[in-house]
């Protein structure tokens, strides 16, 4: 802890304040000011320039009735559920690495898990966009090669998906409204999150050898071991990752913007709240309205962050 100082000492050390002034100024101008400005401008019709017109709560009442905005939350709900399942590979990977006996392999697998981070996330997204390409994409050529395509065509006919998958016609993953959300879920397969794996591994570290030995004596199967020994011990980490994932999914829109464009793809099926805010501000020039939309998102994320801080981080 830093030492409390007497008045004299503080007067003598007054120059120390110069150390904090630059950070303070930056934070005040580029973090506090934009937030306050967003609150202020949400009451205006504003195009981002000097002209603005006070319209009271009109932006908020419009936001409450905005079908696109609230529809986008449905997309978020679907993505959150999907992302829950997408955590499984990371947990499995962490458990697999942890169960290895060789410390050296454990280290090198950690490095390999982190390796994909050397490709900028933007590039990974663009490569997936290319995988989804109807004519040249790897996904379609994989489905043709393995015969999975005919399976999908049969399923389409059987369940009445309405001709999403057709024989002889390349599937337009990002061009077909019904496939937009599946594409948003599939991308990044097998969904290994480097940060997730490392955090789960940190949680597993607390399991001692004797626990495993006792389990071995009882003839416990590997899956039971996971269920009764490993999973309960990483519950804290899992909860942390779930909340972080929810916050990330709720505020992220770069993925949707890059894969689908500012309108959320065909039929706007991939529209998420953040993208709608971005769209209103920078493509429609409705900055005041975008501020109001941003404040709704702000409130939701704030609640999630508080839950995270109150119930999850404390236990760590």
């Amino acid at each position: 802890m830093s030492l409390p100082v007497s008045k004299q000492k503080a007067l003598y050390e007054w120059k120390l304040y110069f150390f904090i002034i630059p950070s303070l100024l930056l934070v005040a101008v580029f973090a506090y000011w934009p937030t306050l400005s967003a609150i202020y401008h949400s009451f205006f019709r504003w195009g981002g320039g000097d002209n603005k017109e006070f319209i009271g709560l009109a932006n908020f009442s419009r936001a409450l009735q905005d079908g696109v905005f609230w529809g986008a939350f449905l997309t978020i709900a679907i993505l959150v559920v999907a992302n829950l399942f997408k955590m499984i590979p990371s947990i499995a990977m962490a458990v697999l690495i942890h169960r290895l006996r060789s410390e050296r392999w454990q280290y090198w697998y950690r490095v390999l898990v982190v390796l994909p981070m050397i490709v900028p996330s933007l590039v990974t997204l663009f490569i997936w966009k290319f995988f989804f390409n109807p004519n040249m994409g790897a996904l379609n050529s994989f489905l043709d090669l393995t015969g999975l395509k005919s399976l999908l065509i049969a399923a389409d006919k059987a369940f009445g998906w309405g001709g999403v998958f057709l024989d002889g016609i390349p599937t337009a993953w990002l061009g077909e409204p019904a496939l937009v959300i599946p594409a948003l879920i599939i991308w990044g397969f097998p969904w290994l999150g480097a940060v997730g794996v490392l955090i789960f591994l940190a949680g597993l570290q607390s399991i001692g050898t004797e626990v495993y030995e006792a389990a071995d004596l009882d003839g416990v199967t590997p899956f039971q071991k996971f269920l009764h020994i490993e999973f309960p011990l990483i519950m804290t980490q899992v909860r942390l990752m779930v909340v972080l994932m929810m916050i990330g999914t709720l505020q992220g829109y770069g993925l949707q913007f890059l894969l689908l464009g500012e309108d959320g793809g065909p039929g706007g099926r991939g529209m998420v709240p953040g993208l709608w805010m971005f769209n209103r501000a920078f493509f429609a020039g409705e900055f005041g309205y975008a501020c109001a939309l941003g404040l709704f998102l702000f409130a939701f994320i704030l609640v999630l962050t508080m839950i995270n801080n109150k119930f999850i981080r404390v236990e760590k």
Binding site: V27, R99, A202, D216, L240, F287
Partner: protein, 282 residues
């Protein structure tokens, strides 16, 4: 690495399935990377004829890299300028700030600390809209300065938070000894704090650099002139305008990754550690 040896199975035969499963997942995870590399050396006809396997070395189309280089290297250069100055500036100011909080509890420092902590809680989601207007009034639109300043200010809260805890752990005697020798606070920062916090500074630097390198939404709304594009905007621009020669595009993707690959090779350990601590950032 605090990995301790665990004896899970008794026979080494039990280890093999685990290795196999790990390699299977890793192989799928690295598939995009593999595709990028092998397609970057093909032209379109070769790629259509042979999607999955790399072509023979004598058929490699090195010209892809030549074309891609011409297009993308200016963007990479801009990104390096932004990410390096952003990271250095951010850590320099954060070190000063953290030193202020860690060394003495000065009057008002509790309040100031609260101001910083509050920002860890407040979501910045709506800021992009008003930041744009702010940068417009400051005449910083369409400049790299805007991105550098945003990178510096964006990292302050997290870096100060981490560094403060770290500096407080440094034995007080070291500071007192330096003070006896007449060292100013700045000299103490240079000669006591920095030598002792190499790894943590490195870890934070990697996180800041990665964040800045991967950013594309802010550059997209700030930059207009193609000469100023960072790779984020540059790649979006290529994706939209370029006649699709996939080999050249993949080569461009690879070149955009080179700086990160170089950093990774030299700082593997810090990389691994940085990402574990990265989640705290929320």
């Amino acid at each position: 690495m605090s990995a301790q040896t665990q004896s899970v199975g008794k026979k080494s035969g039990r280890e093999f399935p685990k290795h196999l499963a790990i390699w299977l997942i890793l192989g799928l995870e690295l598939l995009p990377f593999y595709m990028m590399l092998q397609i970057s050396l093909k032209d379109n006809p070769t790629f259509i004829a042979n999607t999955w396997l790399p072509s023979l070395p004598r058929d490699w189309v090195w010209g892809n890299f030549l074309h891609a280089g011409k297009l993308i290297l200016p963007f990479v250069a801009n990104s390096i300028v932004v990410s390096v100055s952003g990271t250095v500036g951010c850590l320099f100011l954060a070190l000063l700030g953290a030193y202020f909080f860690a060394r003495y509890r000065m009057p008002f420092s509790q309040i100031l600390w609260g101001l910083f902590l509050l920002l860890m809680l407040l979501p910045g989601i709506a800021n992009i809209v008003t930041l744009f207007a702010l940068l417009k009034t400051m005449n910083l639109l369409n400049t790299l300065w805007a991105l550098i300043i945003l990178a510096i200010s964006g990292g302050q809260v997290f870096c100060i938070y981490v560094l403060r805890n770290f500096i407080e752990e440094i034995p007080r005697d070291l500071f007192e000894a330096a003070e006896m020798d007449g060292a100013s606070h700045f000299a103490q920062l240079l000669n006591v704090v920095i030598p002792m916090s190499g790894p943590i500074i490195g870890t934070l630097a990697i996180l800041q650099f990665l964040g800045s390198w991967n950013d594309f939404l802010m550059p997209l709304i700030i930059l207009r002139d193609p000469e100023l594009f960072t790779i984020g905007v540059g790649l979006i621009y290529l994706d939209g305008e370029y006649v699709k020669q996939w080999g050249q595009i993949m080569a461009a993707f690879f070149l955009a990754s080179v700086p990160l690959i170089i950093i990774f090779l030299f700082t593997m350990k810090l990389f691994v550690r940085g990402l574990s601590s990265g989640a705290v950032k929320g």
